[in-house]
């Protein structure tokens, strides 16, 4: 019996997508400051069509990560993204909780 829930676990889903021939990017929370919604090590996985599973925040910055992932899948170079409440405009792609996170996004393969 499998221990990991295949239907919800981002790394299991990434492996399945890869097996189906889809292009995949993996985003990982590598650092957090203050009150961050998801702990270090949390994953969001994204395919070439923008489908995604998992989370790197409470839903605040996933949209921005997904659109960056499209470029990373195309170009192949990993990127480090940083999100926080920097100014008033940050609400759109920032963390309403006041924390700050760094997210590493890389292509699978």
């Amino acid at each position: 019996m499998d221990i990991v829930d295949e239907t919800r676990d981002p790394l299991m889903i990434a492996e399945r997508w890869m097996g189906e021939g889809r292009e995949v990017a993996i985003a990982t929370v590598v650092e957090t400051w203050g009150s961050a919604p998801r702990p270090t090590g949390s994953h969001l996985v994204i395919d070439g069509d923008g489908n995604f599973h998992g989370s790197v925040s409470g839903g605040c910055v996933e949209g921005a990560v997904v659109s960056e992932a499209a470029e990373i899948i195309r170009e192949g170079e990993p990127r480090m993204l940083e999100f926080g409440v920097a100014d008033e405009t940050a609400w759109q792609v920032g963390l309403s909780c006041g924390g700050r996170i760094r997210v590493y996004v890389e292509r699978l393969g």
Binding site: I3, V4, E15, I26, T40, P78, M80, E106, L108, G109
Partner: protein
């Protein structure tokens, strides 16, 4: 991420083995490590810390940035005995996030009606544990009072390095149990790891309160455990 490493990592996770994915954030290269794998210097120390704490972390070593993503198996609780205490312990442990398994060969006790929605095995511990062995991320609580059922499971738990091993019974009962376990060839050190009387001493007076005491003792053992070994 290397697709082969992702596959290997998922195999390790599904097999309930601890693993750590080490990524060099400068060039994107990654490595998969198991507890005890030799890595020199400050990086090796950080890896050991990560395995021990279960916390993933970023570290800077010699001007390079690394990310250590540690994957520890979810803690499991195996309860030997489908008794009244277990009926209270199961729902509480489930809320606390444990994977649960209840084993009792006595079919009158091990009924789905008494244990709804939990993995319940009306078989001998010998048979169940041969199929799915215990490991260091598992706690075992033996609460049947019956040596024929409890003793083998306790021995298996101690030999597998379960992070918690508890046994129900008075001091007198436990003294006799210690004798039997000695005869089975267990060391004094191993036998000394058994929590008995079971549970934190909170003056628990009924099965529900004993379940609270046992769960608290298991959580204490989980969160204060030393370096894990595979």
């Amino acid at each position: 991420m290397d697709p082969h490493l992702l596959k290997k990592l998922n195999v390790e996770r599904n097999a309930r083995r601890a693993a750590l994915l080490l990524t060099d954030l400068g060039d994107g290269r990654d490595r998969l490590l198991a507890p005890g794998d030799e890595v020199a210097g400050a990086l090796g120390e950080a890896i050991e810390r990560s395995f021990r704490s279960g916390k993933s972390m970023s570290v800077e070593v010699d001007g390079r940035s690394y990310f250590l993503n540690v994957h520890l198996p979810p803690a499991r609780l195996v309860i030997i005995g489908a008794v009244h205490i277990s009926q209270a312990l199961v729902p509480m442990a489930r809320i606390a996030g444990f994977d649960l398994k209840v084993i009792d060969p006595r079919t009158a006790f091990a009924t789905p009606e008494r244990f709804d929605g939990v993995e319940l095995l009306a078989e001998w511990p010998e048979d169940v544990l041969a199929q799915s062995p215990l490991d260091s991320f598992t706690a075992l609580a033996a609460v049947t009072h019956d040596p024929k059922i409890d003793d083998y499971a306790l021995q298996a738990a101690l030999e597998a390095g379960c992070f918690y091993v508890g046994a129900l019974g008075s001091r007198k009962t436990h003294a006799k149990r210690v004798e039997r376990l000695r005869e089975r060839g267990l060391s004094e050190e191993d036998i000394g790891r058994i929590a008995s009387p079971i549970g934190l001493d909170i003056g628990a007076a009924n099965p529900e309160e004993i379940a609270v005491a046992v769960l608290a003792q298991i959580i204490a053992a989980l969160r204060q455990r030393p370096m894990v070994s595979a």
